[in-house]
């Protein structure tokens, strides 16, 4: 079993006891470059860095399992899109902890805090506690004061905020997350203005005078020519 498969097996294993339908779904197609072979425009040095980080392991098996359980509570799977497993959120968090080492202490310390709290309250590690017990712990740390800088709030609130941020960003930058969000771009198309029903919904409209200056998309393929005063002729 290679490292990637072993990560996946821990992640799936940690959710196996729960009622997660996706726990037994086959792993998604390989879309993330973990080998550096899949080009996304990396320079040779950038590729080396990715390979180096992939060869290291930050989270141990227990920590990775706890992260998986926690992320799955933060964002439970939703049919038909999926959840953190399909979005490879735990793998993403493992990578980011190595890529941005500044988060390591808060991440690792926060996981310890979760286990300590759970052990104190229920004599169980967090990942093994019942879902309602887990949620009871989260209810105490999941809300933050928006008018106080996060660094000045209690460690466990900072930790949860970090985990929620990484979970959501990991999910919404994944294939399934982008599909659920409904983002329609990143593909060739012709921009020809805001749809009328959207203008109506938001109570704005185009000026005729402004529109008259804009590109006539039926002529985009015709080579531009101007008169000597800069008036476009074509």
């Amino acid at each position: 079993m290679d490292r990637r498969e072993s990560l996946k097996s821990i992640i799936l294993g940690s959710l196996a006891g729960s009622l997660v339908v996706h726990g037994c779904a086959p792993a998604p197609e390989e879309t993330v470059s973990t080998t550096g072979e899949n080009h996304f425009g990396r320079t040779p040095r950038e590729k080396e860095l990715i390979e180096k980080l992939n060869a290291e392991q930050f989270l141990n098996e227990h920590e990775l399992a706890t992260v998986t359980v926690l992320c799955n509570l933060i964002l439970p799977p939703l049919e038909p899109y999926g959840g953190i497993v399909e979005a490879e959120v735990p793998e993403f968090i493992e990578f980011m902890a190595k890529d941005i080492p500044e988060v390591q202490t808060l991440l690792r310390g926060g996981l310890m805090w979760l286990d300590h709290k759970s052990n104190t309250e229920y004599e169980l590690e967090f990942k093994s506690a019942a879902e309602d017990q887990q949620k009871e712990i989260l209810d105490g740390i999941a809300f933050y004061d928006p008018y106080t800088p996060i660094q000045k709030q209690p460690m466990e609130i900072q930790f949860f905020s970090l985990m929620r941020n990484l979970t959501l960003t990991g999910y919404y930058t994944s294939k399934v997350g982008i599909e659920e969000l409904g983002y329609k771009g990143n593909m060739p198309n012709i921009w020809d203005g805001v749809p009328q029903e959207v203008l109506d919904q938001h109570g704005v409209s185009y000026d005729e005078e402004w529109l008259a200056k804009c590109i006539d998309q039926s002529k985009r393929g015709i080579i531009a020519e101007w008169d000597e005063d800069g008036n476009l002729l074509t």
Binding site: P76, F160, G185, W191, V198, L232
Partner: protein
């Protein structure tokens, strides 16, 4: 170590391949001259699949676009940043300057915003208006023919509006405004701020058979694989080569100094090949520095000889002086009327479809010069950072912030595309005591002495930034929005960004008729050495409230035509 010397003598060596160097390459090569282009970074072609980041998805990367290795995110197409390993720079007297470098064929043109604003008549003679700074020795009428040619060669969208200091040109039609831009237009009009279609160098319409037309992915910062936006490689250097030009590219080659002969004339350059880390020499009749304002100043200052003990072209002691970046300050707001959006593709071109040029009269203001307003917003592609604090705006409705569970999905969608942001980009006054110089105590990994910066903003710039902040807050209120973050106070220079952050540094080898008060003449030729020219932003006397690239290229074209002419007449 023996320095390896090439036996070939070029007509010209061009140091740097960005906006200025690319243009010099095109004009000289098209005129049949033999040129060597010496570039510090690797070869780059926006259509090379191994280098391409355009149309990649965040999930193709294990870090989902985070900016660990590229400061504007890992899909941005600049190899470099404000900090480059092995290439430090230092500061004097506790002052700050952030120096951005992009080392690759095409330089910063591969990722820049493509905001392409001509300077106006007033911008070349602003001392006549307010008594500050210095006039340029040339005027708008000298540069206009080159701006005109540039518009047609490179392609730019915009509109002719007949404005006094934002001249008309040869524009392709602009794209229609996006939803948040319609909100901006409405909000700005309430305050009397005029808004026009932006002026940017992307092809909304075909201009020739070699370049594609924009397909609206909004990713110009990733460099366009069909060459529908301006990059120096795809629009200047490759066409020059295709045209049969005699262009030798020396990539991964870090120029150390300009070499000179007994008479003090330039003979070529010496450079370090980054692959074998050995020093080489190239010879040419003319040396054109276009390495960026600060890099070219550094090369000149490092080119010391018996004839030029103070560095090349530095008898005035002004090389490196009058360094100035655009002023910059930014603010964002949450607009409740932009919540709960229907999804559709609004990527558009990379960046804004509308903008506001400077609109006020300084007679009624407590600062000189002006700024233009850039606008951002919309439903962009998620990248690292998307979904952070997904319901933070709940605070504006008295609802709790944070939580977990599937309600977060609804929060993300509710607020997606509801933020609008503004950047003010303005004109600083060029001052002799803002400068870069050689730090004698520090070298880079190539053994080349590095730059040391000394830069302070004055109250002119701080008050301008305060005005930007007041304007942005008013705009956000006009749109029925909530301003995000605290109003930056005096202790934060009113939100004025550290110099260098706007990446418009100019002025280090300024142009003038008096050799005691300037480094180059009106054709960007060193006063001291007639076969060395500078075609980056070093010769700028002042920055204007515009971005500098279009003027770099127009001036580079003008200087390059002069070089061709002088070589043909055998004057140099």
């Amino acid at each position: 170590m023996q320095i390896k010397e090439s036996t070939k003598t070029y007509d010209a060596i061009i140091v740097g391949s960005g906006a200025g160097g690319g243009m010099s390459t095109k004009i000289l090569a098209d005129a049949g001259l033999k040129v060597a282009v010496v570039e510090a970074g690797p070869y780059f072609d926006p259509k090379n699949p191994e280098q391409q980041t355009q149309l990649k998805w965040p999930y193709e990367s294990p870090r989902r676009g985070a900016g660990t290795t590229r400061v504007f995110g890992e899909f941005d197409m600049a190899y470099g940043g404000w900090e480059i390993e092995g290439q430090p720079y230092t500061h004097k007297d506790g002052t700050k300057f952030d120096w951005f470098r992009s080392q690759m064929l095409g330089g910063r043109t591969n990722h820049w915003g493509r905001i392409s604003l001509r300077f106006g008549p007033k911008d070349f003679k602003h001392r006549d208006v307010d008594g500050l700074g210095e006039n340029w020795p040339i005027g708008y009428e000298d540069v206009k023919p080159y701006y005109d040619k540039l518009d047609k060669l490179v392609g730019i969208f915009g509109t002719n509006e007949g404005l006094p200091n934002d001249p008309d040109g040869f524009f392709l039609p602009p794209p229609k405004p996006r939803l948040h831009e319609l909100f901006y237009i409405k909000g700005a009009r309430k305050t009397g701020i005029p808004v026009y279609p932006s002026r940017m160098s992307m092809l909304t319409k075909k201009i020739n058979e070699d370049r594609g037309v924009c397909f609206y992915c909004g990713q110009c910062s990733r460099a366009c694989s069909v060459y529908a936006d301006f990059s120096s490689g795809s629009c200047l250097i490759f066409p020059a080569q295709k045209n049969g030009g005699q262009v030798d590219l020396y990539v991964n080659s870090m120029v150390r100094e300009v070499t000179t002969d007994e008479e003090g004339k330039a003979t070529g350059v010496s450079y370090i090949n980054r692959e074998d880390r050995k020093e080489y020499k190239l010879k040419a009749k003319v040396v054109i520095l276009a390495a960026s304002a600060c890099s070219s100043a550094r090369i000149l200052l490092n080119s010391k000889s018996k004839q030029h003990p103070n560095g090349l072209g530095n008898s005035s002691n002004l090389v490196g002086k009058y360094l100035h970046d655009s002023t910059g300050s930014s603010r964002a707001g949450f607009i409740p009327d932009l919540m709960n959006r229907k999804m559709y593709n609004e990527d558009g071109v990379g960046g804004m479809h509308v903008y506001s040029p400077w609109w006020l009269d300084n007679k009624n203001l407590d600062f000189p010069r002006g700024y233009h307003i850039e606008v951002w917003g919309g439903m962009g592609m998620p990248n690292y950072g998307f979904g952070f604090n997904p319901n933070d705006f709940n605070k504006f409705f008295g609802l709790p912030t944070g939580g977990y569970g599937n309600s977060l999905r609804e929060d993300v969608k509710k607020y997606y595309g509801s933020v609008i942001g503004f950047g003010g980009r303005g004109e600083a006054i060029a001052r002799e005591d803002n400068y870069c110089e050689i730090d004698p105590t520090t070298v880079d990994e190539f053994g080349i002495p590095v730059l040391r910066f000394h830069y302070k903003w004055s109250d002119y710039e701080r008050k301008q930034a305060r005005h930007m902040q007041q304007t942005f807050e008013e705009l956000i209120h006009n749109m029925g929005g909530e301003v995000l973050g605290e109003t930056p106070g005096e202790d934060q220079d009113y939100g004025l960004l550290t110099p260098g952050q706007i990446i418009h540094e100019v002025g280090t080898t300024r142009m003038g008729d008096d050799p005691k008060k300037s480094v180059v003449n009106r054709f960007q030729q060193l006063h001291d050495v007639d076969n060395v020219f500078i075609t980056d932003a070093g010769p700028f006397v002042s920055q204007a409230d515009k971005n500098c690239t279009w003027t770099i290229m127009a001036l580079s074209w003008r200087a390059s035509e002069y070089i061709v002419d002088q070589l043909k007449q055998q004057n140099i």
